[in-house]
């Protein structure tokens, strides 16, 4: 990577080091100005990189743990490829439109995630399984393959700690960065290389969609971020882990006064600039939803409209035309709903070609209204009535559900529902993950499996693995 104030050049990071291609993609900032020039690798390069990853060995566990910790430190503090951490954060804010304070927070979280990657990954290990053979007979936790392709997203810079767990478990990883925000993945792979992961153990391969398919098909396993189309495409593929929309929800039953939990609800909607998959998309209220919607709207209306690099920014920013398109889309979708906030506009132009996406609060008239599934990349929440007769159906297909209820029987049913992947009861924001607990299941459940190993051979012939 090299940079100038005008434009940052991001090379691909292949098995032989940085690779600058003739084919480049220009990534604009929120005003539409070219901010980043990204080298896009061809199919041949992607296939040769996968072959190189496959040929490379795995670092011993203690070395990779140390290298991951060092990479985390470098990621969070060092000047990498000519970009100081401050300039990186500023650039991510300008390109992604996310508030710089959020980028700073994500930088720290990613650093910590890397330091703890081995431990986090190990949370998924079944009791009784070990990383290495032990004694004469036990269950050994082994990788399902050697090479993982990670097709990442650009909606939040903090998600890269996820795939780093695969490195901790001994995978070699091909990362395809988001073309919308490639800086974070590039910085992390650069940090990993500098920390001692060989360039043939983790590579960064910016590609178009066609070559991305080559990565998914050519790797042993793949994790892919995307929309419902991605989830549908890979549903049923045991070698691909799709991450789709979160559609996080909050349920307030009649035994609970929702307005007393307003901080939790509002933060769930609007923290992370409302752009994360764990931000609340819908709030279901047993009884009249209007007071809750009104209260949320009242609080969200006060959020300031600031450019993303401003320390006080909390809302996402994008190009004006993009914002207008989103507005048109949301207003079309909200046809028939009661607009408590954002019904007139969600766009606050900043005068430089960019615009803040302002919060929106709409009230629906029934729990199964389709809008309740509409996840937007800014604070946008649909408040709907819910009754026992509606049952759990509207609450399903949910990454996180926060239930504000004291109904133990209901809590038990919510806990049993597999389509509700995480459940918080009480005052817990949907966007706050609990360290050590699974975010969407443990990644290790996908990457690893247990295998019986008994050893009746003479001593000294014990196999080793890691």
């Amino acid at each position: 990577m090299s940079g100038s104030p005008e434009r940052i050049h991001l090379d691909a990071l292949g098995p032989d080091g940085p690779y600058r291609t003739q084919e480049r993609e220009v990534v604009p900032d929120v005003t539409g100005r070219a901010a980043v020039e990204l080298s896009m690798v061809p199919r041949l390069y992607a296939r040769r990189s996968l072959a190189a990853l496959r040929r490379a060995g795995t670092l011993p566990p203690d070395e990779r743990t140390a290298a991951l910790a060092e990479a985390g430190r470098l990621f969070a503090t060092a000047t990498l490829g000519g970009l100081s951490v401050e300039r990186y954060q500023h650039a991510v804010a300008r390109v992604s439109g996310l508030p710089v304070s959020l980028v700073r927070e994500a930088t720290g979280v990613t650093g910590a995630d890397l330091a703890g990657a081995y431990g986090f990954a190990g949370q998924a290990r079944p009791r009784g399984s070990r990383d290495a053979p032990h004694g004469t007979g036990n269950a050994v936790w082994i990788r399902r393959g050697d090479v993982l392709a990670a097709l990442t997203a650009g909606n939040h810079p903090g998600l890269h700690g996820q795939w780093a767990q695969a490195l901790a478990l001994g995978y070699r990883v091909a990362v395809r960065p988001s073309r919308r925000e490639p800086l974070s993945a590039h910085r992390l792979v650069t940090a990993l290389h500098e920390a001692g992961f060989g360039t043939d153990r983790v590579v960064l391969l910016p590609t178009d969609h066609g070559v991305a398919d080559i990565l998914v098909e050519g790797a042993d396993l793949a994790m892919v971020y995307g929309g419902d189309d991605v989830v549908d495409r890979y549903r049923g593929r045991t070698t691909v882990l799709p991450h789709g929309p979160g559609r996080a929800k909050i349920l307030i039953t009649s035994d609970t006064d929702g307005t007393r939990h307003l901080d939790t609800i509002v933060d769930s909607v609007a923290r992370q600039a409302g752009a994360a998959c764990v931000n609340t998309t819908a709030v279901f209220v047993e009884g009249d939803p209007a007071p809750v919607a009104e209260a949320i709207a009242g609080r969200l209306a006060g959020l300031p409209s600031l450019p993303p690099q401003d320390d006080g920014a909390v809302l996402p920013v994008c190009r004006v035309d993009t914002a207008r398109h989103l507005e048109k889309f949301v207003h079309a979708a909200a046809d028939g709903a009661r607009g408590w906030l954002g019904g007139d506009t969600i766009v606050a132009e900043l005068g430089d070609g960019s615009a803040v996406l302002r919060p929106a609060v709409f009230q629906l008239d029934r729990a199964d209204a389709p809008q309740a599934r509409l996840e937007m990349p800014f604070p946008c929440v649909w408040v709907a009535p819910w009754s026992r007769a509606d049952g759990l159906a509207p609450l399903r297909d949910t990454l996180v559900l926060t239930a504000l209820t004291s109904d133990q029987e209901l809590i038990g049913r919510l806990l049993d529902a597999p389509a509700i992947r995480n459940l918080h009861v009480g005052d817990h924001r949907t966007d706050v993950l609990v360290p050590g607990l699974p975010a969407d299941g443990y990644l290790g459940e996908f990457l690893m499996r247990s295998k019986t190993f008994t050893n009746g051979a003479p001593r000294g012939l014990a196999a080793s693995t890691a």
């Binding site: 003739q22 084919e23 390069y45 296939r47 040769r48 072959a51 098909e217």
Partner: protein, 830 residues
């Protein structure tokens, strides 16, 4: 006449509007590079004002309408009154409304016999379509369902709906829109100013003879109708000899063929009569009208139908198919009031008077060297420009209307070589004088620059025998003739009855031009329609030029496509085979490719040209050809259907065979495609064998991006020469990558000009793009054995100047188009 009012649009608003126009509107007939916009805001009489406040004199009536002039408040009030009462209701089924009934009755009263019924539409194009449908239905109901053919005329204009466009005899409305409506044959219209079209015969006699022969060829019992304009309008205001239409009408009637007169332009006073048909003494079965019916105050057309036809159409289930706005109550009320004005103000008489005055003044322009003929019929005038009156070689009129508008504020129109004037019928004598003065001034200057063009000599029919041994056609591809020489010789060969192929001689009957006369420059090849779709089902014997004689010739047939439809076929005759392999081998020698080494072709054989061409070159250059076959249609089907596992297994099967050959045989040249080369690169052993044994890799058949080419050059096969090849089965040949290209220069290809030439065009406009810009590739093949002109390839490329010492355009950075003919292009699978 209402005066133009005060301006209520500011110039800055005009700029905003123009910007919005550019980003929001699709204008017909507006080239992509034109950013200028004239935004009209108001009009009165013949005067118009635009959003900048500039005033114009309208000498076109918009598009040959505007008969009663702009800004008639009376018509606005009639429309408002009718809208306040009943704006619209459907005219389908039994529903009707008073204005439409009144208007129909009025029209029948004005029209010549035997028009008795009226069918309303939203405009002339819809009315033409309706007339064609009615004509076929008429015969169908009468027990002659095989009468489906439509006779139309070259240079005729009948709108751009698919039915109307098919009947339109102007190639620009077919190019890129095909296939058109089948069973349409275009005949020659009488154009006395162009005697060269009739080979010395009287134009009317020629046209009648052609009509008789056509009826005989197709069969009268298969022809439904003929359509024509009484006076060719868009083609340049060309009035036929007085006996033409009556004799055509009689001949058609003799054979039971109906006649549609398209009077969209001529009706309602433009010629000084309510209808031109009456003036010409013709009794058609249909009269198509629009334009002057409402003078543009409402979009509306009316199809007038003879009683004997209407009787058939109205029976049984009636005429199925209508237009939503047909018989629109407001439109009909406006039309009635418009007819009142025409009558009350004697605008038919005005058309004769002002038209005659304008015609008299403009006819003096015939003395100018670049003006061929000034034609005036009523208040429509065509001024045909010509470089040389002796040959009729056209002089473009494109620049005349802009000059007249810029200098004099007068709006006129043009077709390619004719200036067209057709003002509202309310134009005053003073205004007509202004128009005449402006056009005279501009044309005097404009034509002063024209010169008598030197016609490219073409072979005369008597020289056909000698052309069989034409030195031009027999020139080796290494020593090519000039493009004009080759064009003259190939057109004469392929379109002379004694030497041309059945395919081209038949096809020539449907061309709007005479290739032997009209194709003189490479740009003229764009006149040809793209015929490749017709090569899907043509008998291959019909592609052999008759000049090769009756002896059976050993043929090679090669196919292209075949994934989404029937494959297209070309014929390779032995002399083409010899010419091409000789040329290829010469290029390979020049590039230092070793002779005497074995070749391995990994690619499609069977009906495809890829492997046979490699095999021929290996033989010619003293090597042994090894082949590994590939069925690209199967591979593409797998890819299109998402059957990646099948494709993967097929690829493994191909590579297994490659391995067997590379391990056991000496191979000096590999000829394959970029995707297969990538697959070889994935196999360490095969890549190592190629690196060790093979000195030259020729890649062709698909595109290769710069980065992939760089990886092959420097990482995968650093010791092996890579030579790109870009070819097309449809033109039977191709070309090699230019030498000495650096890593950041895209693969660039120079064709064996003039036998193969290329244009790079904007696919939307058909115009050649400037050097350095990307467009879609069009290839031409001109040789004795094959003529494939104007073939639109499914590739885009950057147009470049030719390499030093070469001629014709080069192309670079070939990429597949995303879709072709509406089908997604599957690329990169073999």
């Amino acid at each position: 006449m209402t005066p133009l009012g005060a301006m209520n649009t500011l110039p800055e608003d005009a700029e905003v509007l123009a910007k919005k126009d550019r980003s929001r509107l699709i204008h017909p007939h507006l080239p992509g590079g034109v950013t200028d916009r004239v935004i009209m805001v108001e009009g009165a009489g013949c005067r118009l004002r635009d959003a900048h406040g500039r005033e114009y004199l309208d000498a076109t009536g918009g598009l040959l309408l505007g008969h009663v002039g702009h800004g008639r408040r009376e018509l606005a009030e009639i429309a408002a009154g009718q809208m306040g009462k009943l704006e619209y209701y459907s005219s389908f089924h039994e529903f009707s409304n008073a204005p439409s009934i009144e208007l129909a009755d009025r029209l029948v009263g004005l029209a010549p016999a035997p028009m008795e019924r009226v069918y309303f539409t939203s405009g002339g194009g819809e009315a033409v379509d309706a007339a064609l449908r009615m004509a076929r239905l008429y015969h169908h109901r009468r027990g002659e369902p095989e009468r489906t053919w439509v006779l139309a005329r070259n240079f005729g204009y009948h709108g751009v709906s698919y039915g109307g466009a098919a009947a339109t005899g102007l190639p620009m409305f077919h190019q890129g829109f095909g296939p058109m409506l089948p069973h349409v044959r275009h005949l020659t219209p009488p154009m006395p100013f162009h005697p060269e079209l009739y080979g010395g015969e009287d134009p009317t006699e020629f046209c009648l003879r052609e009509l008789r022969e056509t009826i005989h060829e197709i069969g009268a019992d298969r022809i439904a109708v003929m359509i024509g304009e009484p006076v060719l309008g868009v083609a340049g205001v060309i009035e036929p000899p007085a006996d033409y239409w009556p004799r055509v009408c009689a001949l058609l009637a003799e054979h039971g063929i109906l006649l549609i007169l398209d009077e969209v332009i001529t009706a309602f006073g433009r010629t000084g009569h309510w209808f031109a048909a009456g003036r010409m003494g013709v009794t058609p079965d249909f009269i198509v009208t629009a334009k002057g019916l409402t003078s543009g105050y409402f979009p509306m057309g009316a199809l007038l139908v003879a009683d004997h036809v209407a009787d058939v159409l109205a029976r049984d289930e009636g005429f199925v198919g209508g237009y939503t706005y047909g018989g629109h109550a407001t439109g009909c009320a406006v039309a009635l009031a418009n007819l009142d004005i025409l009558e009350r103000e004697n605008l038919l008489g005005a058309a004769v008077e002002i038209g005659g005055h304008l015609g008299d003044r403009l006819r003096r322009l015939e003395e100018l060297p670049g003006v061929g003929q000034v034609r005036q019929v009523g208040l429509m005038i065509g001024i045909e420009l010509t470089q040389d009156p002796d040959t009729g070689k056209p002089l473009s009129a494109d620049r005349v209307p802009p000059l007249v508008r810029e200098r004099h504020g007068i709006i006129i129109r043009n077709n390619p070589n004719t200036v067209l004037i057709s003002p509202p019928l309310v134009m005053s004598r003073e205004e007509a004088d202004r128009v005449a003065a402006a056009v005279t001034e501009v044309l005097t200057e404009y034509t002063a620059g024209s010169r008598k063009g030197a016609a490219v000599p073409t072979a005369s029919p008597s020289s056909v025998q000698s052309s069989v041994q034409s030195p031009v056609l027999d020139a080796p591809w290494e020593l090519p003739p000039s493009m004009p020489e080759l064009l003259a010789a190939t057109m004469e060969w392929h379109f002379h009855p004694k030497t041309g192929s059945r395919f081209w001689l038949e096809r020539a009957k449907r061309l709007d031009f005479d290739p032997r006369k009209d194709i003189r420059t490479e740009a003229d090849l764009a006149l040809f329609p793209n015929v490749v779709d017709e090569l899907r089902d043509v008998r291959v014997e019909d592609l052999i030029p008759r000049g090769y004689g009756d002896e059976r010739i050993p043929l090679d047939i090669y196919e292209s496509g075949g994934t989404t439809g029937a494959p297209k076929r070309i014929v390779w005759l032995p002399d083409l085979h010899e010419q091409l392999t000789s040329w290829h081998s010469g290029v390979l020698d020049a590039r230092g490719v070793a002779r005497g080494v074995n070749w391995l072709m990994i690619g499609p054989s069977g009906p495809h040209m890829f492997t046979p061409m490699g095999r021929a070159l290996a033989h010619r250059r003293g090597g042994v050809p090894f082949t590994v076959d590939l069925d690209p249609r199967w591979a593409k089907k797998c890819a299109a259907q998402g059957r990646h596992e099948d494709a993967k297994r097929y690829l493994e099967h191909v590579l297994d065979q490659v391995g067997e050959i590379l391990r056991s045989q000496d191979v000096g040249v590999v000829f394959t495609t970029p995707p297969l080369l990538e697959a070889l690169a994935d196999q360490e052993e095969l890549a190592e064998l190629i690196g060790r044994k093979v000195r030259t890799i020729i890649w062709g058949g698909a595109s290769m991006d710069l980065d992939t080419r760089g990886l092959f050059r420097h990482q995968v096969f650093p010791e092996t020469r890579l030579l790109g090849f870009y070819g097309s089965t449809m033109v039977g040949a191709g070309m090699y990558e230019r030498e000495g290209l650096t890593d950041d220069e895209p693969s660039t290809f120079d064709p064996p000009y003039p036998f193969i030439s290329m244009r790079v065009v904007d696919p939307d406009t058909g115009r050649t793009v400037p050097y350095g810009e990307r467009g879609q590739v069009i290839m031409n093949h001109l040789s004795r054995s094959m003529l494939i002109p104007n073939n639109l390839e499914r590739d885009t490329a950057i147009r470049l100047a030719p390499a030093a010492g070469l001629t014709g355009d080069a192309v670079a950075d070939i990429k597949p188009v995303v879709t072709f003919g509406g089908t997604k292009v599957v690329e990169g699978v073999y």
